[in-house]
Amino acid sequence: MDKIARIDMGATGGPKISYEEVGEYSGLGGRALTSLLIAKEVHPLCHPLGAENKLVFAPGMLSGTTGSMTGRLSVGCKSPLTGTIKESNAGGQAAQVLARIGYAAVILEGKPAGDNLYKIIINKDGITIEVDNSLKLLDNYPLVAKLRGQYGDKVAYITIGSAGERQLLAASIACTDPELRPTRHCGRGGVGAVMGAKRVKAIILDDAGMKTRAPKDPEKFRDANRKFVEGLRKHPVTGEGLPAYGTNVLTNVLNEAGGYPTRNFKSGVFEGGAKLSGEAQAELEIKRGGTATHGCHRGCVIQCSGIFNDKDGNYVTKQPEYETVWSHGGHCGIDDLDTVARLDYMDDNIGVDTIEMGVTIGVAMDAGIIEFGDKEGAIRLMGEVGNGTPLGRVLGCGAEITGKVFGVEKVPVVKGQALPAYDPRPIQGIGVTYATTTMGADHTAGYAIATNILKVGGDVDPLKTEGQVELSRNLQIATAAIDSTGMCLFIAFAIMDQPETFQAMLDMLGAFYGIEMTGDDVVALGKKVLSAERDFNARAGFTKHHDRLPRFFYTDPIAPHNQVFSVPDEEMDQLFNW
């Protein structure tokens, strides 16, 4: 990862490629690289779909190594959905392959005139770009099938579906998994629309002839990785719960807690929750010949994914995650896993963010377009998005726009991005993160639950209700750092509970780069990333008044706890004061 490639899609005479040393971005990866670069190089007031915006693909700091759990790819840009800076990341094979080819980042710049559609081929010999209009309006599954016919199975693909081409604001960027299915998505913030605006339909990554990235201290790296893997395997969450049930194991617990947003955030309990649970899902997957344990990239120890088959044993989609099962399930009053799986496939195929689309359909239900619980209606609406009909284009631009078009008062978004699957009234701490994150409502922005190990901002008494802002601040700092390593956020439990596993992670970083890493270094990196992102957003016109939840969370109590969101604005405004 010693070079950066820039591709000016709008250059006179066709796309122009240039290469440069990593320079000031040396040693950075993932979110740190994308956010620092976007904050520096992109005009904060540019139109996100215009030539001034840039789309940065960056593997994590440890991607392409033999290190476990290091396969996240970060994509950064100014978001067309939120207007803020955006980093969206995904698993799959792309990060590992891109890193092995040697790129710290590939940056798409400019915007081509005309209607031509491009594909980019990246291999050991460099980068080539070709016009391929035969790919126009293909969705991700048929698109990857067609590309495989030409480029084979020993590559990784980054693609957009029809939603990205149409520049819909919920459009995602797909990365293929080890079986070359386009199931891993940089989902949030409409990054697929930016790729569509650059007229890039696919990036083919071929690491033939390349080796895994070599650490500065191979022996120490190998030893640290072994301890890290041992830590993940022995922890009950990463070693038992996630492999057995996936993230959807949360459905039962959130529903029992009264924190499961139901029918567009009208209740915290869904009567059909048990039918959607991870436990029910895992049993169904196994019974139908699929699997409840599967990794999204090679080198994954946790294996939190799975394969969902239909009743005849035919592949439908990868195991829908908790967020998907919620957004298309309880949020829409739907209690049927087969319907959710079908919608998950459509999300992946059309290329849209599964959270944004599920929430949008729920908002459309609230508007009376279809009834809550209407399974066929939900599939029909997704079909409209895939077909690019006028209604589909409205829906494909997300919950906020759909709410405005159809006159819905209560639309669960922050900075234009749909809230994920945790109601911020009973779980107020997560509401602070939703409101204040630089990314728009995002549960993963404050997810790296190792702050006690990191000692970010000191200790907070866990049994007192004060300290929501401090906790969220600490979580956001830790997450910004972890997002830069390329490591999956699910390592968080093991590094929170097991200091030796956290140390092993630090030792992996240290041994790879030949430096001594401490918790303070991780914290400093997280703060640096967040500061750059906040600065970009401020220059883009965002103020403290944008760091708020929608008003109804402050006024409408939710059953069963009958709580409203009550963290004072003045406290939230202190979150980024460090």
């Binding site: 617990v253 649970s277 107020q428």
Partner: protein
């Protein structure tokens, strides 16, 4: 037959068929117990779940939808709903964890009733088991007995496939042996208001 003296149904299953009961256990089953005690006492003294197991494996507990931090202070009343879960992933998993570092984030739904214990008496509570605890605690609850209405029982048997029926080796209703195959159609069973179902597992011969 009334709720105070329920009918009894004893099932003998081939090991491996117990997972058929997991959906019921997830949604919650009614069990008889002595209430007016602390949750920790109920779990260990009445249900025989060791404090060490509770401490290490039952990391997330809800009592009437409120997150529990200390099993030794939470008071159990009649008709209480108790949900027991293993370790959960993600920030919310950490937030819900008993006495966890992020418990403050769900302070609005944390159990903080400071009532003193009232009379110790017989009653029923609803127990829900989630994730890893289904396989670990489920057999014990089924062995001790769960209360279902006859309608629920018949619906349960009708939902089972051929494997379960083949794995159901014996059944005794109020002490009398009956053909397990008839449980799906038993009109008398459907009319019973409350049945105490106990399930024993045996290795297949």
């Amino acid at each position: 037959m009334n709720t105070l003296t329920p009918a009894t149904l004893q099932l003998e299953l081939v090991a491996g068929q117990l997972s058929a009961f997991y959906p019921l256990l997830q949604q919650g089953v009614v069990v008889g117990c002595m209430v007016g005690c602390r949750l920790g006492e109920l779990l260990s003294d009445q249900w025989g779940i060791s404090p060490d197991y509770v401490s290490k494996r039952v990391t997330t507990i809800f009592l009437n939808s409120r997150a529990i931090d200390d099993v030794n202070t939470a008071l159990i009343g009649p008709d209480a709903v108790i949900a027991l879960s293993g370790a959960m992933p993600g920030l919310v998993g950490a937030t819900m964890r008993r006495g966890g570092y992020y418990a403050a984030m769900r302070g609005a739904m944390t159990y903080n009733d400071e009532s003193v214990a009232t009379s110790f008496r017989e009653a029923t509570v609803r127990v829900k088991l989630f994730n890893l605890l289904l396989g670990e605690l489920g057999p014990g609850f089924l062995q001790r007995g769960i209360l279902l209405s006859g309608t629920e029982l018949v619906a349960f048997f009708r939902n089972q496939g051929i494997e379960f029926r083949h794995g159901c080796r014996a059944a005794r209703l109020n002490g009398l042996a009956i053909d397990p195959a008839l449980l799906t159609e038993d009109a008398d069973l459907a009319r019973i208001k409350s049945v105490r179902l106990t399930v024993e597992c045996r290795d297949a011969v």
